[in-house]
Structures are given as C-alpha cells and as structure tokens.
Symmetry: C2
Subunit: 144 residues, 2 copies
C-alpha cells in the first residue's frame, strides 16, 4: 500500500503549478489595458525599465527582466518600429547595443501611469498579503 509514493505527483501538491498558473492569469488581466497602448506584457515591463533608466544596453535590460538576448533582440526591434526607443551600438564597445527611450516613448508613460491602479483590484489580497507574497517571491528569485 505505498500508492502514497505518487501523492507528490498530484497537481494539488505542487507549488510550482499555482505559480505558473497565477502568473499567466495575472498577465492576462493586463491585456485589455495594454491593448489600449499597443504593448504586450513583456514590452510593457521593458518600457518600465526604460521609463526609469532612459538608456541601457541589452545585457543590462536582460538583467533587470531576467530575460536573454534571444527574447529581447526581437522585442527591442518591435519597440523601435513603434518609435518608442532607438537602437544604436556603443562607441566605446561596439558589442553593446544601447537602447534609449524616445520622446514618443516618454509620452507613452503618461498613458500607462494609471494601469497599476486599475490592475490593483485584480487580486483579492489585502495590503499585508500582497506584501507578503512580494517578499516570498523575491526570496525565491534571489536564491536562483
């Protein structure tokens, strides 16, 4: 009677699964708001970094977002096509591609500023629970 061996393989006993499911569900919640400013979620978080930092290279952006050039290279090109950023090689080290926000990109910030508040109601967590969740997530990320 050691069928209990398999209990660990049940979805309900997994921690990773709700993490994966929850992440996708919350990102989906952003969609109607992001559609209005013609950004995907990944483009949005990339713009968040650029709204704050104005200019950085692909590697630095990747460190902020935990994404590599395989994901970022095509994404950055799409942001350039939209006119939100510029791409140019560094003079000091031509291996580096400098991504810089444009005035058009800066303007988008104004349209995006209300999104966090509109999204806030999407979770039914209290302020304390949200802060707790935040710190637990960063505790895991920090170790990885």
């Amino acid at each position: 009677m050691d069928e209990n061996r398999y209990e660990v393989l049940k979805l309900k006993n997994q921690l990773c699964f709700p993490l994966y499911a929850c992440s996708r569900e919350v990102v989906k919640r952003y969609k109607p708001f992001l559609d209005k400013i013609d950004l995907t979620y990944t483009q949005y978080i990339a713009m968040m970094v650029l709204w704050e930092k104005k200019s950085l290279n692909v590697k630095e952006l990747g460190e902020c977002l935990y994404l590599d050039s395989g994901t970022l290279s095509p994404l950055i090109k799409k942001l350039e096509v939209k006119g939100l950023i510029t791409r140019k090689r560094s003079d000091k080290d031509e291996r580096n591609l400098i991504v810089e926000i444009t005035s058009e990109g800066e303007k988008l910030k104004e349209q995006a500023v209300d999104i966090p508040m509109q999204i806030a109601g999407c979770t039914n967590l209290s302020e304390e629970e949200a802060m707790l969740l935040y710190s637990l997530l960063y505790k895991i990320i920090g170790r990885i």
Copy 2:
C-alpha cells in the same frame, strides 16, 4: 514635484513582475530533470493530471491546467507521438476528444516520482513559507 506619480510604474513596485519572473525561473529549474524523461514543463503537468485521472477530454484537462485547446491540441498530439497517451473521439459525443494514458505513460510515472523531491530544494522557503505562498497564489487564482 509630483514625479511620485510615476513611482507606481517602477518594476520594483510591481507584484506581477516577480510573479512572472519567479514562475519562469522555477520552471527553468525543472528542465534538467524533465530533459531526462523527455518532457517539457507543460507536458509534465499534463501528464500529472493523466497519471491521476487516467482519462479525460480536452476541456477537462484544460480546466485542470487553465489552458485552452489552442495550447493543448498540439501538445496532446506530441504526447501521442511519444506513445504516452491515446487520442480518440467519444462515442457519446463526438465533439469530445478523449485523452487516455497508455501503459507506456503509466511507466513514465515511475521515472517522474522522484522529481518533486529533487526540486523541493530549489526554493529556499521554509515549510511554513511554502504553504503560505501556496495559499496566497490559490487565493488569487480562485478569484480570477
């Protein structure tokens, strides 16, 4: 001086971002283990449901995983090619595709049973913290 308006747009003030980043990082942790049994993470959680339920249709599988047929249809075909499941239309209602585990699929369970324990050390959370995280995540998922 209301530059504080933009504080909400900083990555560090987002709850969704660490959720998104953490999910991807943890899934990445599964990769070396899942490579050994030739499954992707999504295929793995689909197999988890099948190890438990033996047989269900696409809709039911989708409800378990919060995924739709757009994601599942091609994934199920790949599992069939691997010989882990069979696909057949229901006699009662031909709209339903019944996905059923094969003996080959059952055998894989034996190889997978150690993965959860091997992964367990991937987070540096205590048992209490893990349970807390689990319940916070399901609280969000439940509402959505």
